[in-house]
């Protein structure tokens, strides 16, 4: 079986993949968000409250957390609709910091078996013990993470092949032209940012339950920057792109401890170089197109 270190690394990769996919969705519709960690945070708290304080079952708590994060996405999407580019990016950053600071003062505790449970401002939120009480091992929890990730990825990949997928790409490439093709660009953007909140939310709920403890400072801007960078490295042509980014950073650089102390420098340099030579990442639209054509041809040849 897998050793503990590997299980830990894979679990981390799985959870961070949700932020990467979340940032990717926003990138697909042509905007940059530095704030997807906010949805991760909102759901970590909301799902923790549901399972640890309200006694909800785990899956219900995850879905609830994701739904609250989706609502938070809606909350961000509507006022930022009319701004784009740099201004949108800054707004997402400000939103995420607001959420983090709000969590610093958010206190909601109840007494359970003579102990106070619940978020306690900057002290954080301890004892989200569901998986220990239910006696779920780290290996089993990894399977839960991977199953939810696979389901999320499958849904996104499927949508990318539908008309909605083409619409989102149009909005990202040229919103003026998309409007002229009859697309309601505002609606597409609102829906995407909300969906991105939801996706990050799934990861946040998993994170809270695996760690049993969260505090506001975990959800700082570096988390969002990484999530964003994964899509930019891995590529924006397919939802596999951000996952490739995660695999390259955590899977190769961090886990093999290659470059050890220099990892962040290597990572930053990698992002910078890629943005210059491949602005839409390794698996960009053209690469995805060639791969798909190659696979189809091979398929037809058989």
């Amino acid at each position: 079986m897998l050793d503990d270190h590997l299980i830990g690394v894979l679990s981390n990769m799985g959870m961070i993949s949700f932020i990467a996919l979340s940032a990717y969705l926003v990138l697909v519709v042509g905007e940059i968000s530095f704030g997807q960690q906010a949805f991760f945070a909102v759901s970590a708290y909301a799902s923790g409250i549901a399972s640890a304080m309200w006694g909800w079952p785990f899956l219900a708590a995850v879905l609830w957390g994701a739904a609250v994060a989706g609502l938070a996405g809606l909350l961000l999407a509507i006022p930022t609709l009319r701004i784009r580019g740099l201004y949108f990016a800054i707004a997402t950053l400000a939103f995420a910091e607001m959420v983090r600071l709000a969590l610093e003062i958010f206190t909601y505790q109840v007494e359970q078996d003579g102990e106070l449970v619940g978020p306690n401002g900057s002290e954080g939120f301890r004892d989200i013990r569901y998986i220990y009480e239910a006696d779920i091992s780290a290996g089993e929890f990894l399977l839960v993470i991977l199953a939810l990730l696979a389901a999320t990825l499958a849904i996104i990949l499927w949508i990318e092949r539908t008309r909605l997928g083409a619409i989102l790409r149009m909005v990202g490439e040229d919103p003026v032209l998309a409007r002229l093709q009859g697309v309601n660009v505002n609606l597409a953007k609102i829906a995407t940012v909300a969906a991105a909140g939801l996706v990050a939310g799934i990861g946040g709920a998993l994170y809270a339950h695996l760690n049993t403890y969260v505090e506001p400072k975990i959800f700082n801007v570096m988390l969002g920057v990484h999530g964003l960078a994964y899509g930019l490295i891995g590529g924006l042509g397919t939802a596999f792109g951000p996952l490739l980014g995660v695999a390259l950073d955590i899977g190769v650089l961090e886990s093999t401890r290659a470059f050890s102390g220099y990892r962040m420098i290597v990572f930053g340099g990698l992002v910078a170089v890629l943005l210059i030579v491949r602005p839409r990442g390794l698996l960009d639209e053209a690469a995805v197109y060639r791969i798909r054509r190659f696979l189809l041809r091979k398929h037809a040849g058989d």
Partner: protein, 248 residues
């Protein structure tokens, strides 16, 4: 079919379109010409809701569409091309036509199939358009990989994809050779024979003179002449504006 009432657009001090009124009749091919910077593209942009008007009104089939968002304008039945080719380069030729094509059909289908329908839905109309544009064998190519002439043809097909009643063509012949221009003229006439109304913005005179029923001439945003091609050709004001001299 299309009426512009005292339409104006000012960019700072520039009066790009200045008190322009004109009427395009059903089934007509209407030419809009004028020197560089005379406000032709701006007029097209105002009709499509790309940016807001300064004053005046756009009425289409009796419906006031002044400053309506572009997707409403498309739904009302207006399609357009751009002077600088504008396509979705990262989508395939077929996908470029796919979305708009359904935006008309969407009134007849449920939202679920509308959004989440697969690639096979409604292939027929897009297929027809691709044949019309001579791109049937390029359907699965990325739009950015097309040659210049093919991109121009795809752009026309893209504008037709939402099944407009009025087509606005902004310099469709720019950069084309004589043979391509004559093919374009054939296409434009074929569209009219199918009942399409066309507003043609163009510099290439053989095309404008050859296909239009009526022409309006702009200079510094104002209409300086309107009439049949023969009248316009002999109008001294037009010659002055267009060629700088009356005797050219």
């Amino acid at each position: 079919m299309l009426e512009l009432h005292s339409l104006s657009k000012h960019f700072g001090g520039v009066r790009a379109v200045d008190d322009l009124s004109l009427t395009v009749g059903q089934g007509e091919i209407f030419g809009l010409i004028g020197p560089n910077g005379s406000g032709k593209s701006t007029t097209v942009n105002l009709i499509c809701g790309v940016f807001p008007t300064t004053s005046g009104a756009v009425v289409f089939e009796g419906q006031d569409i002044t400053d309506a968002p572009s997707h409403r304008v498309v739904a009302a039945g207006i399609g357009r091309t751009f002077q600088n080719i504008r396509l979705f380069g990262d989508l395939t030729v077929w996908q470029n036509l796919w979305v708009a094509q359904n935006s008309v059909e969407e009134r007849q289908t449920g939202w679920l199939t509308r959004w989440l329908g697969g690639q096979r839905r409604g292939r027929d109309y897009a297929g027809e358009l691709l044949k019309f544009a001579g791109l049937a064998d390029r359907a699965n190519e990325l739009a950015r990989n097309l040659a210049f002439g093919e991109q121009r043809r795809l752009e026309m097909a893209r504008a037709l994809a939402a099944r407009p009643k009025l087509l606005l063509l902004d310099e469709p012949a720019a950069g084309m050779n004589a043979e391509e221009v004559s093919q374009l003229a054939t296409r434009i006439r074929a569209l009219r024979d199918h009942g399409m109304t066309i507003l043609l913005v163009e510099h290439v005179m053989e095309l404008v003179m050859g296909v239009t029923d009526r022409i309006a001439v702009l200079n510094f945003g104002q209409k300086i002449a309107e009439g049949a091609p023969a009248e316009i050709r002999s109008d001294p004001a037009v010659r002055t504006a267009y060629l700088g001299t009356a005797d050219a």
